[in-house]
């Protein structure tokens, strides 16, 4: 069972993000981490491989040198191989072109299953996974909370989360699944893994290796264009309702009714 896991190095939740004067760009504090949902995807891949007893897990990312960290974390957790889509022309694209490049890379790999995260913390769109599946012409199931693989029948049975309930679906391999919280508890990379990750060679693919024209990559190939970045509106300072609790509660209800008009 060969499993490809899409991983992304993203700014940490605590990282400061500033909008550049004029809204032309954002500046992100240098605090990065493996995307939370992607760590669930790596964990699941490792468990499936262990359960099936053969095959390899390959972590793949599209990004800059910084993204190598995501690959190393994946390898430290137990992934066998790591691939970086590495070309300046690939950077700055939207979900559509990112997925196109990833699909192009995966097309030439041997895979039975692709796992990715529910969404990436930076753009939170959850679009890349389904787009990769579309470009590869394989089915996809998002927000998986339980995955059972039958390697004999070459199928997966997946429990996915929907608002207020669950759905259980079955799909033939190969299939792309996105990981939702609740799927598993990702392992902490063991020291031996970290050491192995330092030594593991990262395979690099540029535009030529991906057989992609520059017009179909990065900013040039993106379908979306950012007009400007801006800050969300700020909330006015909190009004603390003072006094003895019964008085404060009465005052609060009055404010919600008469000032905020929300009840």
């Amino acid at each position: 069972m060969n499993i490809v896991v899409l991983v992304k190095q993203v700014p940490d939740s605590e990282a400061m993000v500033q909008v550049r004067e004029g809204g032309s760009a954002v500046e992100v504090e240098d605090k990065y981490t493996l995307n939370f949902f992607d760590s669930l995807a790596v964990e699941e891949a490792l468990r499936i491989k262990e359960q099936v007893g053969s095959g390899k897990v390959t972590v793949v990312t599209l990004g800059t040198q910084k993204s190598v960290e995501a690959l190393r974390t994946g390898v430290a957790m137990g992934a066998d191989e790591a691939v970086l889509l590495d070309d300046p022309a690939l950077i700055g694209g939207d979900e559509y072109v990112t997925a196109k490049a990833l699909a192009q890379a995966i097309k030439n790999m041997e895979y039975d299953l692709i796992l990715c995260g529910r969404e990436a913390f930076d753009d939170s769109s959850g679009a890349v996974g389904p787009l990769v599946a579309e470009f590869l012409g394989i089915p996809h199931i998002t927000v998986a909370v339980k995955i059972e693989v039958s390697s004999e029948q070459r199928t997966v049975t997946v429990e996915r989360e929907v608002e207020g309930g669950k759905e259980i679906l079955k799909a033939p391999l190969p299939v792309l699944l996105s990981a939702q919280k609740g799927l598993n508890e990702p392992r902490v990379p063991p020291i031996t893994g970290v050491m192995k990750a330092m030594r593991t060679e990262i395979k690099r693919l540029d535009l030529a290796a991906l057989d992609l024209p520059a017009t179909e990559a990065g900013v040039a190939g993106a379908k979306q264009e950012v007009l400007r970045y801006h800050r969300p509106p700020e909330r006015p300072p909190v009004k603390i309702v003072e006094g003895e609790v019964p008085d404060a509660v009465r005052e609060l209800v009055k404010l919600l009714k008469e000032e905020a008009k929300v009840i």
Partner: protein, 330 residues
């Protein structure tokens, strides 16, 4: 150009989802600005009543009614919608940012070679009559206005509770187009085995207008009774922090935040929770936030409109009583 504005009419258990109506309201505004028609896409089994309902909002209702469509299957929905989009070439396609839409529409964007903006917080018509979609980045720390010049339709998935539901006054009388459900079975690889619905009388968190969320300050699962009581009075939905969910006090379905659900209600109560950034990212676009915490330095107060510094075990019963009294007055 007469290319229509489309709204995906998501329905569930025979009812239109609230966000669908919100988007029909906004969709009408966009369509009027562009001088084009508004259409609704309806897929399901036994949905002709809903189609009728939609004609009060949309000029055209495209209806696929077939037992095959009773349960959502992306392989089937994709074929039908992409086929019609190829024929009718709409310029804009809107849907709520629901689990279903997030599963379906990115892939549709790929099939139609167009862009998609997910979790939008605003929509407008800008230069060159392009749709300008405002979407959050970095958990809402930054917003980006994006356009899609290089593909049609321009697809946007919008967070529920972003736009008000439309009023029915001046209702248009739309036309229902019953479409044939012809699909290529070779392209249907997924099989939906089972759909389990938790028996819930409350709206899902993502659509709720009022949410009361409890954190670790509630001390024990049984104390969530206090929140349930408050929620009953307000017709609200109960939420939880990750700390609470990971302790097994509440189901995963209830979690608000970065690794849970993103909510945007009219009124959000944050009770006995500290306001960690991961939590804030899931509720920061709530209209009015009320925090109740015994620690005056809890970060949640920086993200709240109103606050009471006090012991929740003292505040909650009084608050529930007071609201009950106040709401009984009408």
């Amino acid at each position: 150009m007469s290319a229509e504005v489309w709204v995906f009419a998501e329905q569930r258990d025979g009812k239109l989802r609230k966000v669908t109506l919100e988007l029909l309201g906004k969709g009408r505004e966009l369509a009027d600005k562009l001088g084009v028609k508004l259409a609704a896409l309806l897929l399901g089994s036994g949905v002709s009543d809903l189609a009728g309902e939609l004609t009060s909002y949309a000029d055209n209702v495209y209806q696929w009614d077939d037992p095959l469509l009773e349960r959502y299957n992306s392989d089937i929905y994709l074929q039908l919608i992409s086929h019609l989009a190829g024929k009718e070439t709409p310029q804009i396609l809107l849907a709520g940012a629901t689990f279903l839409a997030k599963d379906l529409f990115p892939r549709l964007a790929g099939r139609l070679d167009t862009g998609i903006a997910v979790d939008c917080l605003n929509l407008a018509i800008g230069d060159d009559n392009l749709l300008v979609a405002t979407k959050p980045l970095f958990g809402g720390k930054v917003l980006a206005d994006v356009v899609c010049r290089k593909g049609r339709p321009q697809i946007a998935l919008v967070r529920p509770n972003t736009f008000p539901p439309p009023s029915l006054s001046g209702a248009s009388k739309g036309e229902v187009h019953k479409l044939e459900v012809s699909i290529d079975p070779d392209q249907v690889k997924l099989e939906v085995l089972e759909v389990v619905r938790a028996a819930k009388e409350r709206l899902d968190l993502t659509e709720a207008e009022i949410i009361v969320t409890g954190g670790r300050g509630l001390k024990e699962p049984k104390n969530f009774r206090l929140l349930e009581d408050l929620a009953d009075v307000l017709g609200a939905t109960v939420g939880a922090t990750r700390a609470v969910v990971d302790s097994g006090w509440r189901p995963q379905d209830d979690q608000v935040g970065k690794s849970g659900k993103t909510v945007s209600p009219k009124l959000y109560f944050a009770i006995g929770l500290s306001g960690a950034i991961h939590h804030i990212m899931g509720m920061d676009t709530s209209n009015v936030v009320v925090a109740i915490n015994k620690d005056p330095r809890a970060p949640i107060f920086q993200y709240a409109d109103y606050g009471i510094v006090g012991d929740l075990f003292e505040v909650l019963p009084l608050l529930t009583e007071e609201l009950k009294r106040e709401l009984a007055k009408g």
